[in-house]
Structures are given as C-alpha cells and as structure tokens.
C-alpha cells in the first residue's frame, strides 16, 4: 500500500512541478492578450468605459482592473466575445455606462460653426478638419460616432445622425422584404416634367427590406 501511495504521490509531485514550471515558462504574453482584447473592441474610442480609448481599456481588462461589460458600442455580442476569449462567464452589459446604439456619425452645422477648434481637439480619431475661426467639418468615413465632440462645442452645432446604411439582403421570412414576396407593381411614368435631376420625387417601387 505504501508503495502505491509513494508512487502516486511522487507522480503527482512531478507533474505538478512540471506544470508549474511550464506555466511560468510559457506564460501568455501580456501584450498579445491586450492585442487580442483590443481586436474585439469596436474601436469607437468613445471612453464610455471609463478609460481614454479602446487600447487603455484592453490593458485594464488584461490586468484585471476593469470588467468585460463596460463597452456599450460593443454591445452584448462584444461582451460575449470577450468572455469567450478570456474564459469567463458572460454578464449583462453595464447599462449605466451607456446603451448600444445603431451606427451614428457626427455632422457639423456649418452655418452655426464659429471655428473654435475645440471639437478638433476632442476628436479621438482626428476625423474633424478645420482651422481657427474657419469652418470645421467631419470626415464622415472616419467618424466613429463617439460623441466626444458634443460637450466641448460652445454653440451646440454638432448633431449625430444615423450612418447611411447600405442595402442589406434580408433574412428570409423576417419581413415582407422576403425576395419571394417581391411581386411586380407596374408604376406610372415616374419621370418628372423637367427631366432633370430630382432625387426627391422617386418612382414608387415595391418596398424591400
């Protein structure tokens, strides 16, 4: 009996030691963990998580300082992906930090803008161009919709609008947009009298999507 205990105990000790050394030796690289977390984050750079950008938040998650449910733009699916990566239990999004919104972009009302440059300094992705006392404008393609330009604006000339979305192929059965329900509607001559460019007076077509 003693031999059995000794052999098994010895084996357990040897494996434990081996695993301990291995864990120390092949420790997950801190940087690569941060990198992986950062690649899940939506890169909105909105700071709603309480950190000044996505990478700082990724670092905070990696060091165990921050929780995984602090990113509203990432939404529930983002929390799920983080939980999966880090091997933790997914938890509901911390709604005190904000809500998940559809993609938005900032638009500057150029008539009201006084050219104070405050929003340019606030933009985390340098998506606003302009100069002192000259009109500013948003590069819509680069805007992440983080809303950080709103508070500094002294004349409240920045609005957030929904990002124009491309047409998407609907999920079958979701709505009347199902391609099978796309029946023909013969439309009246939709040509405006002047024949020129008139995008408001669109011809009527079957609703889709």
């Amino acid at each position: 009996m003693w031999t059995g205990i000794l052999v098994l105990g010895g084996l357990a000790l040897a494996f434990g030691l081996g695993l301990g050394i291995a864990a120390r030796y092949w420790q997950a690289d801190d940087d690569s963990v941060v990198e992986q977390i950062n690649s899940i984050l939506p890169q909105t750079q909105c700071a709603q998580c309480g950190y000044p950008g996505c990478r700082p938040y990724a670092q905070a998650i990696a060091s165990g300082e921050a929780d995984i449910n602090q990113c509203p733009p990432g939404g529930e699916s983002g929390v799920k992906a983080l939980a999966e990566l880090l091997g933790r239990e997914p938890k509901p999004l911390d709604t005190e930090r904000g809500e998940t919104k559809p993609p938005i972009v900032a638009v500057i009302d150029e008539d009201r803008c006084i050219g104070c440059t405050l929003c340019i300094q606030a933009c985390p992705v340098d998506a606003i161009v302009g100069a002192s006392r000259l009109m500013h404008t948003v590069i819509a393609d680069e805007c992440t919709g983080c809303e950080l330009c709103l508070p500094p604006c002294p004349v409240d000339c920045i609005d957030l609008v929904e990002r124009p979305d491309d047409w998407r192929w609907p999920r079958p059965g979701d709505s009347v947009g199902d391609a099978r329900s796309l029946d023909l509607q013969v439309i009246d001559s939709p040509e405006p009298a002047n024949g020129g460019e008139d995008r408001r007076n669109k011809p009527r077509t079957a609703v889709h999507g």
Partner: protein
C-alpha cells in the same frame, strides 16, 4: 463526389497535349430541367422601337463606382463615352444612341433588389448618329497589351450576366494560358439569347475567340455548346471552316444539365479538373468567356464598336409573343415587354435572368444593362410562393444536387442560427447561387435567399472590421502625436529653465568679478 485537386500542382499545365473537351467528365450535382427555349427562338432577333428615354446605370460592373463625364444638356453621339472609372476593374460606359443628356438621377435597378442607383438619362434624337469609331489597326492586334487596353476602353464585361470586366480576365501574370473556352452552354431554362447569337453571327463568335486567344497567348479555342441546341452546331462548324485556321478552334457539345454553363462546372466538364475554391480558372491554364462577349470583342476590335447593346430574351408564360430583341443598354424593361406584345394581366412577377438564378424585379422600369440576358414574366401558376415553408427534414436532396459540393442544409441551419463564421468555414462563398437546392427542397425553404443573406452579413462584417482597423490606426497615430507634442513642450520648458539658472550663475559671476575688483582697489 469529385475530389478537390491538390493545391501544389496549380499553375502547371495539365494534360497540355490533351484537348479540353476531347473527353467529357461528369460534374457533381445539377439538375435536368425542362428547356422552354424554343418558344423564343421562332423568329430572328428583332429590333425594338427606340425608347423615349434611356436610363443608363453609371455602374455596370463589380468594383469601385464610376464617374459620369457628361453633364445635363450635353449632346452626345452614339458610342460616345458617358462614364468612366479608375482602377483595374473599371469599365467605361458609352452612349447607346445619339441624343441629349436630360440628367443624372436615381432610378430603379436590378441589384440590389428594390433599390435605386444613379443613372444617366438620355433622350434619343432619333438620328442614331455614330461618333467616330477607332478599330484596332491590324499590326496592333498582335500586341497583347494594346489588344487588352482596347478591350478595356470599349467597355467589355462578361455578357453572360456576371458582368466581370473582360480585360481583368485577360491581363494578369498567369504562367501558361493554353486554352480559351467560349461558354455557349446556356443551361438555364427560358434563356436563349446566346443560342440566337450563335445562330445568326457564328463567324463573329469564332473571330472573337481567335482575338481572345491572341490576347491571352492561348493556343486553342474550345467552343462549348449544349447538345440540344439544334442548328447552332452546324452554323458554328461552318463558320469555323471558313474563318479559323485548321486545328485551333474546336467545337464541343456538352450534356444539357443545369448549371453546366457555370464557369467552374463547364471547366470541370471539359477538363475533368476542379477550379480550386480559392483559385481561378487561370490557375488551370484556361480562361472561360461567354460567346456573346467573344462576339462583342470581335466588334470592338475590328469595327471599334463599344458595348452599347445586347440580345435580350423576352419570354415567359406572361409574354404575348416571346422573342429575342437586340436592345440598347438603358432600355426600360417595360419597353421590351411592349415590343414583345405586352404582358398578360395575370403576370405576377418579372424576373431578370432565368427562373433558377434570376432576380425578381421590383419595378418594370429597370433598365437593360450589359449583363441583362433575359426578361422572364411569370404568372400565378408558375410561382411557388403559395407553398408554405416547412421545417427542414434533413432529407439530403439538396446535398445531392449542389454542383459546388457544399452541404446546403447545414449551411442553412448555421445561417438561420446566425453562426455566420461557421457558414464561412463550410465554404459559403463557394455557393454559386444556382438555385438547385431550393428547387428540389420538399419543404420549400428559400435556401438561396438564406445564402445571400449570409454572404451579405459576412461581407458587411468585413467592412466593419476594416472601419475599426482604420479608427484604431488613427487613434494610435493621434496618441503618438500627442505624446510627441508633450515631450517637445517639456523639452522647451527644460531648456528655458536651464537658461534661467545659467543667468543666475552669470549674475553671481559678475558679482564675484566686481567683488574681486573692489578688493584689488583696496
């Protein structure tokens, strides 16, 4: 199921001395369908009356959007450049007839279904006056680069329906293209435009094939047609005897199985090899081009004519007198239907393309593009939408017919469960959307719509990921800039401070010197 080829021997000419098509190989899956073609082939290709207005989509190919080069009020001649793009995939668009540009406006288009896209509105003047056409000079035809550049400038895209820029297929760094396959296997029911073209202008098809062979450096041209195409074989054979040197052009008849006319399926039938799923036909040393494209290449090179019209089959149970019409690009569908005797009152749906892979049109105003091969009017009795969609019973019928060798039912379940990454792993993007699986599904599940939805979601995620990558780059660049500016500010402050202490020292030194002088005086 045919095995996939080993990726390592890609690019090596396979059976170089064996002629593709000498022996026919079966491809996996597919369906035998009723043909319905003869109904539209009773009379020669007709010419519809000139429409009152043409709506020419600015973008008629895959790739970056093009740019209009005309303005409202401009007078244009037939064949004049209307829009052009930048980049390799760009394809110019030309005026289909002479007239005046009325404007550029949003107009219903076929893709995406129910959407609108910017179209150039052209009001024909009825004179049909040509601009000056510049055919490619005889010696230049042997220059590959010049030939390909000419094909690009004449706006050639795949006229079979996919509208892939033809020049993009020809120009490339492929080691050894030995065969040009001219795809005349128009396998989808009802569509007959290629059949009519090969009946009426076989010499143009053969001549175009020879030009494409010159442009690619290929030594052979294989014209593949279906074995049910009546007199086409005879006409092509005669044209080959008259126009082509001995032993270069070969005519092959393939079995009529849908979707044999699909590029990958046809290549498999002719060579016995599968195009690798992440590769191109060029990797096998072949390039596959539609017969109508070949005829258009001939016209572009020998007459200098850009692509401004095409043959469209107007057919279906809802059409009074089905026919083939040579339609100008930009002609609204309703004008063509009118020219074919109009549509009956019980027409429920208009389809662009064939019944299997075509797109339902949301409006009868959708204009003809370079890829419009067929307008199909279906009545109540042909539509399956009255059949309720039932749950999948895992019968496996779809697996049996899928020509891409996929697992349609598993793909469907993954996409329905929004597991798009798993669907990608199951090679969703190898789906050619032929519609065979949906056709045989006993539960009437609109499978292809699910696949299109899945592909759309995945490509959208790609766009989002790209957007995130850019935002991250810009954020990190800004952080670096701010850190650098901060460091510079600090350095300046430090320098000033040091200067200040220097000044204090200098004062001390002056005071010390004064002190010494005073001491001396004493």
């Amino acid at each position: 199921m045919a095995g996939k080829i080993d990726g390592t021997n890609r690019g090596q000419p396979y059976m170089d001395e064996t002629l593709p098509g000498q022996r026919l190989h079966p491809f996996f899956g597919g369906l035998k369908l009723r043909h319905h073609k003869q109904v539209a082939c009773q009379s020669p290709v007709g010419t519809p009356p000139l429409p009152e207005r043409l709506y020419i989509p600015i973008q008629q190919h895959q790739g970056r959007p093009d740019e209009a080069v005309v303005e409202p009020g401009d007078k244009v001649l037939k064949g004049q450049l209307l829009a052009r793009g930048t980049g390799l995939r760009a394809v110019p668009v030309h005026a289909p007839t002479s007239g005046k540009i009325a404007g550029i406006r949003e107009w219903p288009v076929a893709w995406p279904p129910g959407s609108q896209a910017p179209c150039i509105v052209l009001v024909p003047d009825g004179l049909d006056r040509w601009t000056e056409c510049a055919p490619l000079a005889e010696p230049d035809r042997d220059n590959r680069d010049k030939l390909i550049a000419h094909i690009r400038s004449c706006g050639l895209v795949g006229l079979g329906g996919a509208m892939f820029p033809t020049a993009g297929k020809l120009a490339g760094d492929w080691p050894d293209l030995h065969t040009v396959i001219l795809n005349g296997a128009e396998c989808e029911p009802w569509i007959a435009c290629d059949e009519m073209l090969m009946r009426e202008r076989p010499e143009s098809v053969i001549a175009g094939g020879l030009m494409l062979a010159r442009a690619t450096g290929a030594r052979r041209v294989v014209v593949a047609i279906e074995d049910q195409m009546g007199m086409v074989a005879e006409r092509l054979e005669q044209a080959r005897m008259e126009n082509a040197p001995e032993g270069i052009v070969h005519l092959v008849q393939v079995a009529t199985i849908y979707p044999e006319g699909g590029e990958r399926q046809l290549i498999q039938a002719l060579t016995g090899r599968e195009v690798p799923h992440d590769g191109l036909p060029q990797d096998l040393g072949v390039v596959c081009i539609n017969v109508a494209t070949a005829a258009a290449v001939n016209e572009a090179v020998s007459e200098g004519r850009p692509v401004i019209d095409r043959i469209v089959t107007v057919t279906g149970p809802g059409v009074a007198s089905p026919c083939n019409l040579k339609a100008l690009v930009g002609t609204p569908a309703t004008d063509l239907l009118e020219a074919a005797g109009g549509i009956s009152d019980n027409t429920r749906r208009l389809i662009l393309g064939g019944p299997m892979s075509g797109l339902p049109l949301a409006s009868d105003q959708v204009p003809v593009t370079k890829g419009t091969n067929c307008l199909l009017a279906l009545t109540d009795s042909e539509l399956a939408s009255t059949q309720p969609v039932m749950p999948c019973i895992n019968c496996g019928e779809c697996v049996r017919v899928c020509p891409a060798g996929l697992l349609p039912q598993t793909l469907f379940q993954q996409i329905r469960g929004e597991n798009f990454d798993e669907a990608r792993e199951l090679d969703l993007f190898d789906c050619i959307e032929c519609g065979c699986c949906a056709q045989v599904c006993p539960s009437h599940i609109p499978l292809v719509d699910y696949y299109r939805h899945g592909k759309d979601e995945l490509s959208r995620r790609g766009v989002e990921a790209e957007r995130a990558r850019r935002a991250r780059e810009r954020f990190e660049a800004r952080e670096q800039r701010l850190a650098r500016e901060k460091a510079e500010r600090q350095a300046r402050r430090q320098a000033r401070k040091e200067k200040l202490t220097d000044r204090n020292q200098a004062k001390d030194q002056v005071a010390a010197a004064l002190e010494r002088a005073r001491q001396k005086k004493k």
